[in-house]
């Protein structure tokens, strides 16, 4: 396959970026999208140019590090896959492909296609946990959990923290990400003691990071590579309202 790439190049956080055109030839349909970028970078290095910097690590769709905005969609045209699991058979010979970084005020560009997603870590640090120190646990089977609840918690926990939800949202809202963690813990008995504190502190941190609000478009759910459901946002909003108006413990 022969392709034209339009790739966002930006030297660092302060520099002004631009789309740069590259022609690339001899791409096999069995290559992953990132392997196609490996070929591009090998070409650039051989020509004495600087390779395109992009985030990637596990290349099996689970670490959440890869993050390319391809032809206007996070992780490209296929549903339910990350960029590393997108293969060139999803494109045609002669295609022009536009590749940009995630764009959101809370995810500043670091270089080229790499952005800073540490805002997600700070949201988790604000409350995305159960406060249990090592060594304090009872026997795991002393606490039976209905399979349906455990499965629902697992589905919410499948989030890989890649940030596609933020990248695709016109408001750059992080509500799908934040609500997935809140839901996972709210669905489990272990998560109950801190349930209403957690939703308040995580939402406060989410707002402080500069993420926008949800206006129920649903693009996040449509683009999430792990199929995280919008129901989580509803659950978060319900918990948040309960915390603010009903619970005894407002923060």
């Amino acid at each position: 396959m022969n392709l034209t790439l339009k790739v966002w190049r930006q030297k660092d956080n302060k520099a002004k970026g631009a789309l740069v055109d590259y022609k690339i030839a001899g791409i096999s349909p069995d290559m992953s999208f990132l392997e196609m970028f490996d070929v591009l970078n090998e070409d650039l290095i051989n020509k004495g140019d600087e390779p395109v910097v992009f985030d990637h690590d596990c290349r099996e769709g689970i670490c959440g590090m890869c993050s390319m905005f391809i032809n206007g969609r996070p992780h490209g045209p296929k549903d339910l896959v990350t960029t590393c699991q997108l293969h060139m058979r999803s494109f045609k010979d002669g295609d022009t492909i536009v590749v940009e970084p995630w764009r959101a005020a809370a995810f500043p560009v670091v270089k080229d296609l790499t952005v800073d997603r540490s805002a997600f870590d700070r949201v988790i640090a604000a409350g995305g946990f159960i406060s249990v120190n090592t060594g304090n646990a009872q026997d795991a089977n002393n606490l039976p959990i209905p399979k349906l609840n455990a499965d629902a918690a697992f589905e919410a926990a499948a989030c890989i923290g890649c940030g596609a939800c933020v990248a695709t949202c016109k408001n750059a809202s992080a509500m799908l990400f934040v609500s997935a963690k809140i839901s996972q813990l709210a669905l489990l008995p272990q998560g109950q003691p801190e349930r209403y504190r957690r939703v308040q502190s995580m939402v406060a941190q989410m707002d402080a990071e500069g993420f926008g609000n949800c206006t129920n478009t649903g693009a996040c759910e449509a683009e999430c590579p792990k199929g995280i459901s919008l129901e989580n946002i509803a659950r978060m909003n319900r918990d948040y309202a309960s915390a603010k108006f009903v619970s005894e413990e407002t923060m």
Binding site: T134, A140, P144, A150, F154
Partner: protein, 659 residues
């Protein structure tokens, strides 16, 4: 035979750890606040240690090269985590888990460490469930289990095919909680480049901020490396692209012994290589062997589609050779058997380097049960298959999707094609019972150390070991050292030892940039991988290893003469990062071949063609090689061997049999 002391406590095997815990010196809370610990790596072994140490009151700094601690490669572990809970009432016990692990490791691991691992395994499950890790459950609300290779009980806990992800996110959330409280300082996108030693003790690290290129000095009363394995020395492996040996290798070059480097695990069920462009290999979890049957055609070069080959013309070679364990033999055995069939000309697929993993028989079996539950006691085969595939989907859906994504084939309709690939490294930094290397104050946990898996790791034991080390072992054992350090004030980082270490690190970075050669880093990495896979992979022999050592030395010279690293050291420079890692891999590759050549026996993942039984099984030489090979780095990339004898007092050493 030993010239190194593993500091195993005296006494009965079953009481060693309990006695150790109750007699280890303590550090009082006010002293803990002034003691600083550096943890490098944020995977299961690193994040759990960092979080637990901070909970105990120590001042912790944690480093990872990824953009978030949640992305460490533990996240990609699929199948599960072992624990001797005996929830299935199938006769499991601490002793059995210990026994299976020592036997699975082909009698090349340390009894006392493995017993401790088995002992704390149950606590791990309790801890993770308390953190909200959503492990799989049955309708009764209790935890579910499945089987893994090399054992005859069901002791593996799991979360679909994403067990590593869920366990890591549990450890990550514990870590983030401590970060939020200001008790852990987290340094993401930082790479450790040197260990700083003062008066023979590890006192800090030199790290590079990968965004700015800035070189930083960090002091710690002790340093813990939880930096993972070195499978990427083979270029193609199931490791993440960034997984590297640099931290462990720099520690090695600063005096820490590197143990059993040649013990690498080649995992039997991975998606086969599809072309030269391939950048990494993808595992299909061992859990699939619970329900998948492995076979090749009985006829050489059979070109028919798998579904057109009738039952009687299929060779279920694992079931044939190992009737007692069948498809669930340990990984080393399954991998060699696949290679044997392919080498003999029975391989399938376009490369002929693949075997089938077929779910149809078990799908039909499950379908019958489902139909029966729904009141249909005489279902036809199509109904069974349809219902059964739903069960298969519920168990392994994400793995099937991944397979379809990568190969473009539908595994629900046609058997998977699989082939062995590099997956895990049993070797690593030598540590004593306390998980301390031979450098005082330098600890090593998880895959990065060598301690628990001998010459072959059993499935679902890596997650167990990483979390055992980080949550339950290191936080105790490090107290024995730190209790003697309470009077040591934090050493200012303008100390000459820091300056010297920084100079070494900067020197290497500048040297890499200054080569200004013509070939990319990947070019050298691929060549190294090729040598390692061909000569130091699934089967090795003296001649090949000697060639490999020569080739790698030549490759090292070529690398330092001709590598091209664009850009500068003072910016985000991913080629520079890769170059440093590949330089270390090249040196490690040589040591792996030296170790493999020195070990004139076959054991576990180390298979020397000269030493095999008439049936082609690994033939150990216990009289001469029942030891840990711990290598010391010497000036100019030379290595000196030290030996730690392995004594088995509680297990009868025998020829491993899975027949």
């Amino acid at each position: 035979m030993s010239d190194i002391n593993s500091n195993i406590p005296e006494g009965e095997l079953t009481n060693k750890w309990t006695k150790f815990k109750s007699s280890v010196p303590l550090v009082n809370p006010s002293n803990k606040r002034t003691l600083e610990v550096i943890v490098v790596g944020s995977g299961l072994a690193g994040a759990s240690a960092a979080a637990t140490l901070a909970e105990m009151g120590y001042k912790v700094k944690c480093f990872c090269f990824q953009d978030s601690p949640r992305r460490a490669h533990s996240i990609a572990a699929q199948g599960g985590i072992n624990a001797a809970k005996n929830y299935q009432n199938d006769g499991d016990s601490t002793y059995r888990l210990f026994y299976d692990t020592v036997k699975g490791g082909d009698y090349r691991s340390r009894e006392a460490n493995v017993y401790r691992l088995a002992e704390v395994s149950a606590n791990i499950i309790d801890q993770c469930v308390a953190q909200g890790v959503p492990l799989a459950r049955e309708y009764g609300g209790l935890l579910d289990n499945r089987s893994f290779g090399g054992v005859q009980v069901q002791r593996t806990f799991y979360a679909a095919g994403q067990t590593g992800q869920q366990l890591l996110l549990g450890a990550y959330s514990a870590l983030e909680r401590q970060i939020g409280m200001g008790k852990v300082e987290m340094y993401t996108r930082h790479e450790m480049l040197e260990i700083v030693k003062i008066d023979g003790k590890a006192r800090g690290i030199i790290a590079r901020n990968l965004i700015t290129g800035e070189i930083e000095r960090h002091f710690g009363h002790a340093v813990v490396l939880g930096t993972g394995g070195y499978g990427n020395v083979f270029y193609l492996s199931t490791n993440a692209m960034g997984s590297n040996v640099t931290a462990a290798w720099k520690a090695h070059k600063s005096g820490a012994y590197f143990a059993n480097p040649c013990y690498t695990q080649i995992h039997p069920t991975c998606i086969p290589v599809s072309g030269d462009h391939q950048s990494k290999l993808t595992l299909m979890s061992e859990s699939l062997r619970n329900d998948g049957r492995i076979w090749v055609p009985m006829k050489k070069g059979d070109e028919r589609r798998p579904q057109d080959i009738p039952e009687e013309e299929r060779d279920y070679y694992l079931e044939r050779r190992y009737p007692a364990f069948g498809n669930l033999v340990p990984r080393d055995v399954a991998s060699r058997a696949a290679k044997e069939r392919c080498d003999a000309g029975y391989g399938v697929g376009s490369s002929k380097l693949a075997v089938y993993l077929d779910f149809k028989a078990n799908a039909i079996r499950y379908g019958k049960i489902e139909a029966s539950k729904a009141g249909n006691h005489h279902p036809d085969e199509a109904t069974c298959l349809r219902l059964g595939l739903e069960v298969i989907k519920a168990k392994y859906g994400n793995l099937f999707d991944m397979y379809a994504q990568i190969t473009g084939e539908n595994p629900y309709e046609t058997p998977m094609r699989i082939y062995p690939a590099v997956h895990y490294t049993m070797g690593g930094l030598w540590v004593d019972y306390n998980l301390m290397t031979n450098v005082q104050g330098l600890y090593c946990t998880g895959e990065a150390n060598f301690s628990d898996h001998g010459a072959n790791r059993l499935g679902a034991s890596a997650l167990m070991q990483g979390l055992a080390d980080g949550y339950f072992v290191l936080p105790y054992t490090i107290g024995a050292y730190l209790s003697k350090e309470i009077s040591v004030k934090a050493i200012p980082t303008d100390h000459p030892a820091f300056a010297e270490a920084e100079e070494r690190a900067v020197g290497i970075l500048n040297k890499l940039i200054d080569v200004k050669g013509t070939k990319s880093v990947d070019h050298f990495h691929k060549r190294l991988g090729h040598i390692m896979w061909e000569k130091c992979g699934m089967a090795r022999n003296a001649e090949g290893l000697n060639e490999a050592i020569r080739d790698i030395r030549a490759l090292r010279a070529d690398f330092w003469a001709n590598v091209r690293v664009p850009g500068t050291t003072t910016e985000l420079n991913t080629e520079l990062e890769k170059a440093g890692r590949v330089a270390d891999f090249i040196e490690l590759g040589e040591l792996m071949c030296i170790d493999a050549l020195d070990r004139n026996e076959s054991c576990g993942g180390h298979f020397r063609e000269e030493y095999q039984t008439p049936e082609g099984e690994a033939l150990r030489d216990d009289a001469n090689y029942q030891y840990v090979a711990a290598w010391e780095f010497k000036e100019g990339v030379n290595f000196e061997l030290h030996k730690e004898a392995l004594n088995y007092e509680n297990i009868k050493v025998a020829q491993r049999s899975y027949k």
